[in-house]
């Protein structure tokens, strides 16, 4: 019997490969022979490739929803008892489907990018060809080694089910957001290649690149945050970031993209760092492919990694090497045209602050890269895998983060070119005083952790600069006769990039404060208790009420009843659970979390005894909610900053 869904999927993926290859050939011929018809054929190939990826995705989703276990990937990633949302999530719950999601997201970006470049036809052709090269690579994988439509004969009566770790609502949004971030970096890469090929490294490229990198940056930020939230709620270890290779893989392109978002402003205002900016874009895209290689090659072990697939890993590595060689070769070729028009005139200027910021972001990327690859390097040179672990990352990244935090306050208050001593005194006295005073008060209140104290002081300094900038800007408008609320609103609306940037900075400092506080001041305790017994952790009293066993389809559920007091005040009853997935023979924590602005109470049911005793572990994390709130503020600020600005009029 013909499996229609599988046949349609295989046809779409194979046709996609042919179309992408045709698109590359047509666009290249069009560019070399200056033939508009061929170029139009290349553009049509983008549309058709996108439609074919959409068709393949629809076919796979149909196979999942109809529980068609004659498709091997569906049988591996889902089972008949899974709820609909988990069945939909299974699409990206395995390697092959995740690659198809990648291709689908790329297809969407390509259609929008090629369409939006119609007013820049000289950039459109080379950018289209570059995008199609990436599309062709993914088509090669999807039509061959990673085809999600490989049939399974005979089909099993039921599937193996989605990895229990992925059966969490955050997984419905984390991978799509991460991919929207990762894949979106292909467009600025294609624009950079197009600019180098055509020599159009002017303000048009600057404006296009900035716009096209902010969007994936926002998605990557969201993806990282949602991944941290998933780790916090699902893995049951109480943390949200473990410097795991796959987390690091997503973090590195975020770091270089953030560096670019700052250094592009130096190019825009001073005509400097053009080559550096191109290199950052190439590196950012290269790191997204490198991250995918890490996840899929099996060279590093991670809770997030897909099963080992060395062939896929080699293909990614080969593709990455070829692209980086070609694109950095182009950069070397255009080096002469990328000379800076301006020069740093003073050490105390905004461009110097941005330069320092870039050095710190790149240093952070190198630190993360080295730490991530250390086991591979030690295995290559010493024959044994050695992991550096969180102590290495924390030791190096804490001072770098404090440096970046300080520069977030210093940069915006410095003028371009140079600052005088009087300006420095005028701009920095208040924020510095706030930082010193805040640190003193915190010290008097008993905060003794040096790293955390430094972060809090730096955060107060940055907050001071943001408040100062906002108050001064609002006053300027009030002096023109506007009422205070209107003045504040118009200040933000008419300076979206600048004040959107300040909102982003405020979000980041909230996140860093949350990270510092929850890392430095967490307390935890655990006890094995009989029903009715209590133990104390921090200011909380925990009473264990006993166990309840129940069943969900395919899952044994054990639930503890826990009552919590803060002093004499009863806070509520909580029910930490432990799931046991029978088919996968895998246990999973479902922690109970009481979240407030002040701190999170994180309750885990670790073990239990047959006679009803339970081991309860409780962690108290101060200010964790600041991390999530800061993430939301950061994303909102970035969205505000890219809203189209009112067109300024010529003088």
């Amino acid at each position: 019997m013909v499996n229609l869904v599988g046949e349609v999927g295989r046809f779409a993926l194979l046709a996609g490969l042919v179309v992408a290859l045709y698109g590359i050939a047509a666009t290249t011929l069009g560019l070399s022979r200056r033939h508009g018809g061929y170029l139009a054929g290349g553009r049509r190939a983008v549309t058709v490739w996108a439609l074919l990826m959409a068709l393949a995705s629809a076919a796979l989703m149909t196979a999942f929803v109809s529980r068609d276990f004659s498709v091997r990937f569906v049988a591996m990633a889902s089972e008949s008892t899974q709820p609909l949302l988990q069945t939909i999530m299974a699409f990206w719950g395995g390697h092959d489907g995740a690659l198809l999601l990648w291709a689908l997201v790329l297809a969407g970006y390509m259609v929008v990018a090629v369409w939006s470049l119609r007013s820049h036809p000289d950039l459109q052709g080379p950018a289209t060809a570059t995008l199609l090269v990436v599309a062709a690579f993914f088509s090669v994988l999807l039509a061959g080694a990673s085809n999600p439509f490989v049939p399974l004969v005979p089909p099993p009566p039921d599937g193996q089910g989605l990895n229990p770790l992925l059966r969490n609502p955050w997984m419905s949004v984390h991978p799509p957001m991460l991919y929207l971030g990762y894949v979106g970096m292909t467009v600025p890469f294609a624009l950079a290649v197009a600019a180098m090929i055509t020599g159009r490294l002017d303000e048009t490229w600057v404006a296009l690149s900035r716009r096209w990198i902010v969007v994936p940056w926002i998605f990557l930020t969201l993806g990282l945050l949602l991944g941290a939230k998933w780790s916090y709620e699902v893995l049951g270890w109480g943390g949200y970031w473990a410097w795991d290779p796959v987390e690091n893989a997503a973090f590195m392109p975020w770091l270089t993209a953030t560096a670019f978002l700052h250094s592009i402003q130096i190019q825009e205002r001073r005509g400097m760092l053009a080559a550096w900016n191109i290199a950052l874009i190439l590196l950012t895209f290269g790191l997204t492919i490198f991250g995918t290689f890490l996840v899929r090659s099996g060279v590093l072990s991670s809770v997030h990694a897909f099963a080992e697939a060395p062939l896929i890993g080699y293909l990614f590595l080969g593709f990455l090497s070829a692209l980086m060689l070609a694109s950095f070769g182009l950069l070397a070729w255009r080096w002469g045209a990328l000379k800076s028009r301006g020069a740093v005139e003073s050490v105390i200027s905004r461009e110097t602050a941005f330069l320092a910021n870039n050095l710190l972001f790149v240093a952070a990327t190198i630190v993360v890269l080295l730490g991530t690859m250390f086991p591979v390097l030690t295995e290559a040179f010493r024959g044994v895998k050695i992991n550096v672990g969180p102590p290495y990352f924390n030791t190096v990244m804490v001072p770098i983060s404090i440096g970046i935090l300080l520069l977030m306050g210093i940069g915006p208050l410095l003028p371009w070119r140079l600052a005088t001593r009087e300006q420095l005194a005028r701009n920095f006295t208040l924020p510095s005083a706030a930082a010193v005073l805040g640190a003193l008060v915190l010290g008097l209140l008993g905060v003794r952790h040096a790293g955390a104290l430094l972060v809090f002081a730096a955060a107060l300094f940055v907050s001071g600069t943001i408040v100062l900038e906002t108050v001064r800007g609002t006053r300027v408008r009030i002096r023109r006769g506007e009422r205070a609320p209107l003045a504040l609103a118009r200040l933000f609306l008419r300076n979206r990039r600048r004040y959107g940037g300040y909102v982003v900075h405020f979000g980041v400092l909230l996140m860093l404060v949350g990270i510092a506080a929850s890392s430095a001041f967490d307390t935890q305790s655990g006890a094995t208790l009989r029903p009715g017994e209590r133990f104390v952790v921090g200011r909380y009293t925990i009473e264990y009420g006993g166990l309840r066993h129940s069943e969900l389809p395919g899952i044994d559920v054990t639930e503890a009843s826990v009552r919590v007091w803060a002093g004499a005040r009863f806070l509520g009853s909580y029910a930490p659970q432990r799931y046991f997935y029978r088919a996968q023979e895998q246990p999973m924590h479902h922690v109970a979390i009481r979240s407030s602005l002040r701190e999170d109470l994180y309750i885990i049911l670790s073990e239990w005894t047959p006679d009803g005793g339970g081991t309860i572990r409780v962690l108290v994390h101060p200010l964790v909610s600041w991390l999530w709130a800061g993430g939301i503020v950061t994303v909102l600020g970035a969205l505000f900053a890219i809203l189209p600005e009112r067109r300024l009029r010529a003088p």
Binding site: E203, T420, Q423
Partner: protein, 88 residues
């Protein structure tokens, strides 16, 4: 049956993709003023930012005047070029 359907779709795709190659479509010309327009926008934004920097006390009067004169000259040159060769 399914093979016939795929064959038909493949032929339609091929026809759609290849059709423009047989047409003598003109190569879309890049707007020569494209870069100038972007440069003009950037120059105006720089002036707007400089004014805000001055109003919020980041610059001394003399530094502001000097920087504004430079930026105004750059912007004027860009808009003169945009207006065309005859523009004064």
């Amino acid at each position: 049956m399914i093979e016939a359907l795929f064959f038909t779709v493949a032929v339609l795709i091929a026809a759609y993709l290849l059709a423009p190659a047989f047409q003598s479509l003109e190569l879309p010309a890049a707007d020569p003023s494209d870069a100038l327009k972007s440069a003009g926008d950037a120059a105006l934004r720089a002036l707007h930012d400089l004014d805000l920097d001055w109003q919020t006390g980041k610059l001394s009067e003399s530094d502001y005047r000097a920087a504004r004169a430079t930026l105004e000259a750059e912007a004027s040159e860009i808009f003169r070029q945009l207006a065309g060769p005859g523009a004064g």
